[in-house]
């Protein structure tokens, strides 16, 4: 168990390096420039160099800050995002913890990240951080609802909270294809709401560099700041993996119910490639958002949730329930 | 209105005004305590309608200070320059025109900062550029700063 844990941590760190590199390259691609290209082959060691720099920087604690909470906050943020990684299935028969309330576990743990962010903003003794923390509270609590509702639509269809069973239920086709338009709506809402949940542009109001100079992590430096970055990338991976698992079948290859020959050909592609392919596709889409959209304003952000996404998800749940009861899905 | 007509109408309003027509604009030179009544007339009367104060500054002529107001009418497209003469250079003060043109607020702060003219009835008179405890007023001709390099 300990060995698996250590392996998982190592995997997450490597993953974050890769995501950091990918983000820079995607940004460069969107912004008609080259991106990192000096350190290591094709600039791949740039992120390692940055980490080393952050490691050697002084971890400053401001004078007026609540020292205990200020130093605790980054750990809480990282721990909550790492906890969510546990029930993810990376490949066929490769799941660390197949808990029978997987979906519930994911959605409840991921909402704890707001505690860390609020703590960081509050204890910094900086007015910009405080505004950032308050924004984050309003934002994460609101978007939690939409995420929950869109996950529930699949729970209704598959009849299980367990991630492995949800994946199994997609053996004859992924839910996004089987579930008609309501599931597609759920999927889109999930992507939008989870982008907001993990505080990435266009919903990065808690950081909002141009408004709040860095938001809740304005006062953090060195490794403590790196913790926030780490948790941002783990979160990015987690929500993409969850979206891939719930809506796109996780490690399940692309199957079409009834076409056995086609399904067998698809099975030859390793299941881990299917999982990571789908996950990184969604990660790319979320990065694409980030580098093309301007940021919303706080009232527009809350309007979007309470006036549009939440009512739509509620009606959508009704449709999905009707579909499940009547057996209209494939 | 042409400069001649402006001159004629303003003489009716304020007989003490003197004129200088050597430059591009008609310059009206008035004593500082006549400023507000004249300005109010220039702003409100339909035939003047000077609604745009585009330049507000001061000149230090060593024996007196001269406030300079450049006015333009967006409707009639005529310009005028009002110069108010402040003779008391030890303790110069003049009425603020902030109640007529809002742009005057920051401009008068600037003049207060650099020339030391106090504006009466100004909503928030403060040193705009320099520190509160800065000694002297840099744009005055008698200002000396030993750190200043003569070019």
């Amino acid at each position: 168990m300990v060995i698996t844990g250590v392996c998982l941590l190592a995997f997450l760190v490597v993953l974050c390096f890769f995501l950091g590199y990918m983000e820079r390259k995607v940004a460069a691609f969107m912004e008609i420039r080259l991106g990192p290209n000096r350190v290591g082959p094709k600039g791949s060691m740039q992120i390692v160099a940055d980490t080393v720099k952050l490691l050697f920087k002084e971890g400053l604690t401001p004078d007026g800050a609540d020292k205990f909470l200020f130093n605790l906050a980054p750990f809480i943020v990282v721990i909550t995002s790492m906890l969510v990684v546990a029930p993810i299935a990376y490949a066929r028969d490769f799941q660390l913890w197949d808990i029978n309330i997987g979906v519930l576990y994911v959605s409840s743990i991921s909402s704890m990240a707001v505690i860390g962010i609020l703590m960081a903003g509050w204890s910094s003794s900086n007015k910009y951080s405080l505004i950032g923390a308050m924004r984050s509270g309003a934002q994460i609590v609101s978007y939690e609802l939409s995420i929950g509702l869109s996950l529930i639509s699949i729970v209704i269809l598959s009849g299980s909270l367990q991630l492995s069973e949800i994946i199994e239920s997609q053996a004859n086709g992924w839910w996004i294809f089987k579930g008609h338009i309501p599931v597609i709506i759920s999927f889109v809402i999930f992507i939008i709401a989870s982008t907001a949940e993990i505080n990435r542009a266009p919903f990065d109001l808690t950081e909002a560099e141009q408004e709040l100079t860095g938001g809740f992590h304005t006062e953090y430096a060195g490794m403590k700041f790196a913790m926030f970055l780490l948790s941002e990338y783990i979160n990015l991976f987690v929500v993409s993996a969850i979206a891939a698992t719930i809506f796109l079948g996780g490690w399940m290859p692309f199957h079409i119910g009834g076409l056995d020959a086609f399904n067998h050909i698809m099975d030859y592609i390793p299941s881990s490639i299917w999982f990571f392919g789908k996950t990184f596709l969604i990660i790319f889409i979320i990065m694409w958002f980030r580098w093309t959209f301007p940021r919303l304003r706080i009232d527009q952000l809350l309007n979007l949730e309470w006036k549009y996404l939440l009512p739509i998800s509620m009606v959508n749940i009704l449709l999905v329930t009707a579909m499940a009861i009547m057996g209209w899905h494939f | 209105m042409t400069n001649e007509e402006l001159k004629y109408s303003i003489t009716e309003l304020l007989p003490v005004a003197t004129y200088d027509e050597s430059g591009e604009f008609l310059n009206i030179i008035i004593p500082s305590d006549e400023l507000i009544p004249l300005m109010k007339e220039l702003r409100s009367k339909k035939e003047f309608d000077f609604d745009y104060l585009f330049c507000l500054t001061c000149i230090d002529w060593k024996d007196h200070l001269m406030m300079v107001y450049h006015l333009l009418s967006k409707v009639h497209k005529h310009c005028i320059v009002v110069k108010a003469k402040i003779t008391d250079i030890q303790n110069p003060k003049i009425e603020s025109v902030n109640c007529i043109w809002k742009t005057a607020e920051l401009n008068e702060d600037e003049v207060y900062d650099l020339f030391g003219i106090r504006f009466l009835n100004h909503p928030n008179l403060r040193r705009l550029f320099l520190e509160e405890d800065w000694k002297g007023f840099p744009l005055r001709k008698n200002y000396v700063d030993e750190n200043m390099i003569k070019l």
Binding site: F293 | E24, N124, L128
Partner: protein, 372 residues
């Protein structure tokens, strides 16, 4: 200057200092903001962090030298600032620039305006959280700067204008390069619209935000695109033409909405007008001298001289008081940004912090021009 001492603080008000070090103030502007939650109650600008007392320096510089200090005011319209000073001196001396010099000046001024608006567009996106437009606008801006560098030798503070004309003739490649860049800008114009103008989030961030009425725009002394978006006709190039603008065909872009979106549209329209002006002139630069003869030591006659020009941000006025000597007795620069800044507290009343950033972005402040 710091918290808790000024009259802006009322009981229970949350005061934050935006700047002098802040990503959205584009320099060392310091706005003290009284907040109620995230809603702005009051703004008080504190200036002087980049005050160099250019007006005092000018009193010691000759009429050939003082022109160059103005490049450091609104550094994005350096050419146009220089032009204002040069025109003021010419007006006092009653000298006229040669036709070729006038055409070159207008071309350079419009290229500067184009480059300046491109930088504004780039920062506009950046301020609202979209990083990508920055690089797209800089692609064309760099090309324009390279053209200017070829002729003037510098990219930002050009110091190219002298009384009577320009310092040297244009580079032989100038016309060819300008045409290439104009072609490139026209081809890429749709990218600008796709990235920002058509974006729903972007439109929502700007529409109805930072409303400035026509009366307020006039009363606060606003000029340039800020005033024109409120329906105030104030283009100096139209009202008080200089350097041959009266012979060129272009429109004054007006909008009556008065919000940030209107200001955005006015600036986009102005970019198109600048392109049209450059196209009219680029093949019609008259032959002849690029400089009229002036004396080595310029002495202005006694009197006041006022010259205004239209910079990328509004009306710049140069007010020279001469006592007949070789240096100005008093020199005042009426800077457009100073007046536009004074309207910002009015525009941002009741807005959110995010709105304030959008308002500052559309007003396009350049801080060294405010402080001088």
């Amino acid at each position: 200057m710091l918290l808790g001492q000024d009259h802006i603080t009322e009981e229970g008000e949350f005061v934050i200092n935006m700047g002098p070090q802040h990503p959205a103030t584009h320099g060392v502007l310091h706005l003290k903001i009284g907040l109620d939650g995230e809603t702005i109650k009051k703004i008080e600008p504190h200036l002087g962090y980049i005050h160099r007392s250019i007006e005092k320096m000018c009193e010691q510089l000759s009429y050939r030298q003082f022109i160059f200090t103005t490049s450091r005011m609104d550094y994005l319209s350096a050419h146009i600032n220089n032009q204002a000073c040069v025109l003021a001196v010419e007006k006092a001396l009653q000298v006229e620039a040669t036709p070729r010099a006038k055409a070159i000046r207008v071309l350079m001024a419009e290229l500067t305006r184009l480059a300046s608006h491109q930088l504004w567009w780039a920062c506009m996106g950046l301020d609202l959280g979209a990083v990508t437009p920055f690089f797209y606008a800089f692609r064309e801006r760099e090309a324009i700067n390279t053209i200017i560098e070829e002729t003037c030798g510098t990219r930002l503070t050009q110091n190219y204008m002298v009384p009577g004309g320009v310092m040297m003739d244009i580079h032989p490649n100038f016309q060819k390069r300008v045409k290439e860049v104009l072609k490139q800008i026209k081809e890429k114009a749709h990218e600008y619209d796709e990235l920002l103008t058509g974006n729903v989030i972007f439109q929502q961030r700007l529409k109805g935000v930072g409303y400035l009425s026509k009366e307020d725009a006039v009363s606060y002394g606003c000029s340039g695109p800020t005033a024109r978006a409120s329906g105030v006709s104030c283009d100096v190039r139209k009202l008080f033409p200089y350097d041959g603008y009266e012979q060129l065909k272009f429109d004054e872009i007006l909008n009556t909405e008065g919000d940030s979106w209107a200001r955005y549209l006015v600036r986009l329209g102005e970019m198109k007008q600048s392109i049209s002006i450059i196209e009219q002139l680029i093949d019609n630069i008259p032959e002849g001298d690029f400089q009229a003869k002036t004396k080595n030591v310029i002495k202005l006659p006694k009197g006041d001289f006022y010259q205004r020009v239209e910079t990328a941000r509004g009306e710049l006025g140069v007010y020279i008081v001469s006592d007949g000597g070789a240096t100005p007795y008093r020199c005042k620069f009426r800077s457009p940004n100073f007046s536009n800044l004074s309207a910002i507290p009015k525009m941002a009343e009741g807005a959110k912090i995010g709105d304030l950033v959008a308002i500052m972005a559309t007003v396009d402040l350049v801080i060294p021009d405010i402080d001088r």
